[in-house]
């Protein structure tokens, strides 16, 4: 080897190019090999390719859906049924797991020995057991073991719980509760306006406006009022006991109830640890400093502890939410019709087009995960420490 060639060969930039080209080449080679095999095997097995199958009539019935769908609809509509069911159980699960997790996390820091012990026991119990076991336990061990419809547990003669699910009243037509989300948006907007005004006034005059009480009243009160108005003005279909089963109302199927219960109890154990870590991360000196400034305990909690604890909690909470979203796919194990079960299960059995169906399913999870992390990153940036 000549000296020039050797110098060229030992140049860091040349080396960088060579190694990157080698890795990229190996990767594309592998992918090409897989694709070649796949197309050959698909021809051999007579599997069609392309996305035309999405517009074929599905012929698949789904026992639980919150969007309009019949087996005469096409496969794209079936996909939406799955997406809606996944989102329903995930969003509800996130909300409930957050509430339960906060309560348990705070209980773990309680000065009360018994309460702390119970909360710690719950967390240690939950975190070391597979989620699938929870799902099975709630489904086969609890919900399926409930009494049959004629011996249901009832509340106010409108809600009934038995081994066929949870029966709740439903509006007879349309979606009148859309008005509630509009009212919620209005409440939030009013709160933001009010807060801007209160901040300005405090800066100018030093007078403190009870913004949190007013804000809670607006954000909770406005939608609540709207819900009451809607509930009183629409006609309801209330579940009524028939011969062997209930008629009317809306059934939350056992699969849904069990999956939700499993996701909430399991995730709450992890959320509790995040909450505890966040609160412990706020230094004692912060609380003492706040007290010496003359802030009340309530103000200390609201203005000093919570903002700093939130900053620590947001990244791990994001990953808990993402986990919950992905874990909603455990519903496939008990045939709750979420994406994996209706699309990777039923639709794939009906069409046989594995590659397309898997690609679509994974893409949906990646997009949904991206949406959750973008929202949480935006929130994180908002509450992040601003330094000079």
């Amino acid at each position: 080897m000549t000296a020039a060639l050797r110098r060229w060969f030992y140049d860091a930039r040349v080396r960088a190019w060579i190694s990157q080209a080698a890795v990229a080449g190996a990767m594309f080679g592998t992918i090409w090999y897989f694709v070649a095999n796949a197309s050959e095997n698909m021809v051999k097995a007579g599997i069609a390719s392309g996305f035309d199958f999405l517009w074929r009539t599905s012929g698949i019935d789904v026992p639980f859906k919150i969007v309009d769908y019949t087996p005469q609809n096409n496969i794209v509509d079936l996909l939406w049924v799955g997406v809606a069911n996944t989102l329903l159980v995930s969003l509800l699960g996130m909300a409930l797991a957050t509430i339960l997790g906060f309560l348990i996390g705070i209980a773990r820091l309680s000065k009360n020995f018994l309460l702390r012990g119970l909360a710690t026991g719950f967390v240690e119990f939950v975190r070391n057991i597979p989620l699938l076991l929870f799902v099975f336990f709630w489904y086969f061990g609890v919900i399926r073991a409930l009494p049959p419809p004629r011996d249901s547990f009832g509340a106010f003669d409108t809600f009934f719980l038995n081994n066929r699910g949870l029966y709740v009243p439903a509006p007879t037509e349309g979606h009148p509760f859309a008005a509630v989300s509009v009212a919620f948006a209005i409440g939030v907007a009013l709160f933001l306006v009010l807060r801007a005004w209160a901040v300005k006034r405090q800066a100018a005059t030093g007078k403190i406006f009870p913004i949190w009480a007013a804000g809670t009243a607006l954000i909770v009160g406005v939608p609540l009022a709207a819900a009451i108005v809607v509930a009183l003005t629409t006609s309801w279909s209330v579940p009524v006991r028939g011969g062997f089963n209930f008629r009317g109302g809306f059934v939350l199927v056992p699969e849904f109830v069990a999956l939700l219960a499993a996701l909430v109890t399991y995730t709450a154990g992890f959320v509790a640890e995040v909450v505890r870590g966040g609160i412990l991360a706020v230094g004692k000196g912060q609380k003492e400093a706040a007290a010496s400034l003359g802030l009340t305990p309530g103000q200390t909690l609201r203005l000093i502890v919570v903002p700093q604890a939130l900053r620590v909690m947001v990244p791990p909470m994001t990953s808990q939410y993402l986990n919950l979203l992905k874990n909603s796919s455990f519903g496939a194990a008990i045939a709750y019709p979420e994406i994996v079960s209706v699309f990777m299960g039923s639709a794939l059995n009906a069409t046989g087009q594995a590659i397309e169906i898997i690609a679509i399913t994974l893409a949906i999870y990646l997009v949904a995960g991206l949406a959750v992390s973008m929202f949480m990153n935006w929130y994180n940036a908002r509450i992040a420490l601003v330094t000079r």
Partner: protein
């Protein structure tokens, strides 16, 4: 008097505290005795079939009758000693590699990561060296759970190290590929990955792949992506001066990485690695959707047997107890590592 003072400080400090204490006592009093009755005092322990069980308590006879199946699956009864030896070997090597006080770590870790996989396969699968062949279709129960967890972990570890290094690399192509790979497998549910592996592997490879291998491949990809993130944390925690000192000594990338950076980074990331491993070992239970019967899967299947129908909760409690002890022990080990690491770094 001391007890009274303690109770006053810890249970009845304020009126609210007292109310909480009473509520907790009520919860314990209401739920603990029936639970103990069910699990212990009214439970049936002895017998051969369900006639030995009564309505008031648990039917542990079910576990007793099916115990071998829960441990070994459908593995031929005359050959189960092979599983026992493989398991004992795993425990011995694991303790040797994981317990600080034992000497010879430089042999223990290669023994677990390199030698054991071959010995384990030979013992379990057989087919040569005097052991009759047992096909993977007969594997099941706890043995399958441990097998999948250990092998997926062993395969995932080197892949995770490479991905973490790739993500920290300053070569853009390699970094992009690593980031895409890690984020892709972390972003999709593990159940979908197991489906994917079991459906796509036979399509994209010219040969037919064993069902168990497909599941292990799927698990490996996911575990590797999560491990890579844990190791990246360790790599970022190694002070920059270490990289610079290695470069100043004239070490190239690979030698600097293997001799200087990785030993420190891996030690730092060990607790995080262990936590990822615990989280994912719980998810091996999902293989039951591709009809592999791991511990939970076989318990679930056995409780659908007409002979034992209605005793599924006993089965879940049994499987849950095993998982709980295994995961709890691992998490304690990881926590003690973390504490020691913290103490060592604060000097």
């Amino acid at each position: 008097m001391k007890a009274l003072a303690w109770a006053r400080a810890n249970l009845f400090a304020t009126w609210i505290d007292a109310a909480i204490t009473l509520a907790c006592i009520w919860v314990v009093w209401r739920f603990l005795p029936p639970l103990l009755d069910w699990t212990i005092f009214k439970a049936a322990w002895l017998g051969d079939d369900r006639s030995a069980c009564s309505a008031g308590g648990a039917c542990w006879v079910f576990i007793r009758a099916r115990f071998d199946q829960f441990m070994y699956g459908l593995y031929p009864a005359a050959q189960t000693w092979r599983i026992d030896i493989a398991g004992a070997l795993l425990v011995i090597l694991g303790v040797w590699a994981g317990w600080r006080r034992l000497p010879g770590k430089r042999y223990a870790i290669p023994a677990v990561l390199v030698v054991y996989p071959f010995v384990g396969i030979w013992l379990l699968l057989g087919g040569f060296g005097g052991l009759p062949y047992v096909e993977t279709r007969q594997w099941g129960g706890l043995m399958l759970t441990v097998f999948m967890t250990v092998y997926a972990g062993i395969f995932a570890f080197p892949l995770g190290v490479l991905l973490a290094l790739g993500r920290q690399s300053n070569l853009p192509v390699i970094r992009t590929i690593s980031v895409a790979f890690i984020e892709f497998w972390r972003g999709v549910p593990i159940i979908a990955v197991i489906f994917l592996a079991s459906l796509l592997l036979p399509l994209i490879l010219p040969i037919n792949v064993d069902r168990l291998i497909r599941a292990v491949v799927g698990l490996t990809l996911v575990i590797a992506a999560y491990m890579a993130e844990a190791i990246r944390g360790g790599l970022q925690a190694v002070p920059k001066g270490q990289y610079e000192a290695a470069a100043a000594l004239g070490l190239g990338y690979w030698r600097a990485t293997i001799l200087i950076v990785l030993p420190q980074a891996l030690r730092i990331s060990l607790p995080a690695l262990a936590n990822e491993f615990i989280a994912l070992s719980k998810n091996t239970t999902l293989v039951l959707i591709v009809s592999l019967f791991d511990l939970l899967g076989i318990v679930h299947a056995a409780s659908a047997d007409p002979k034992w129908v209605g005793y599924n909760v006993e089965g879940y409690v049994f499987a849950g107890t095993i998982f709980w002890f295994a995961c709890f022990a691992m998490s304690r080990w990881s926590a003690s590592l973390e504490r020691r690491l913290g103490a060592a770094r604060s000097h």
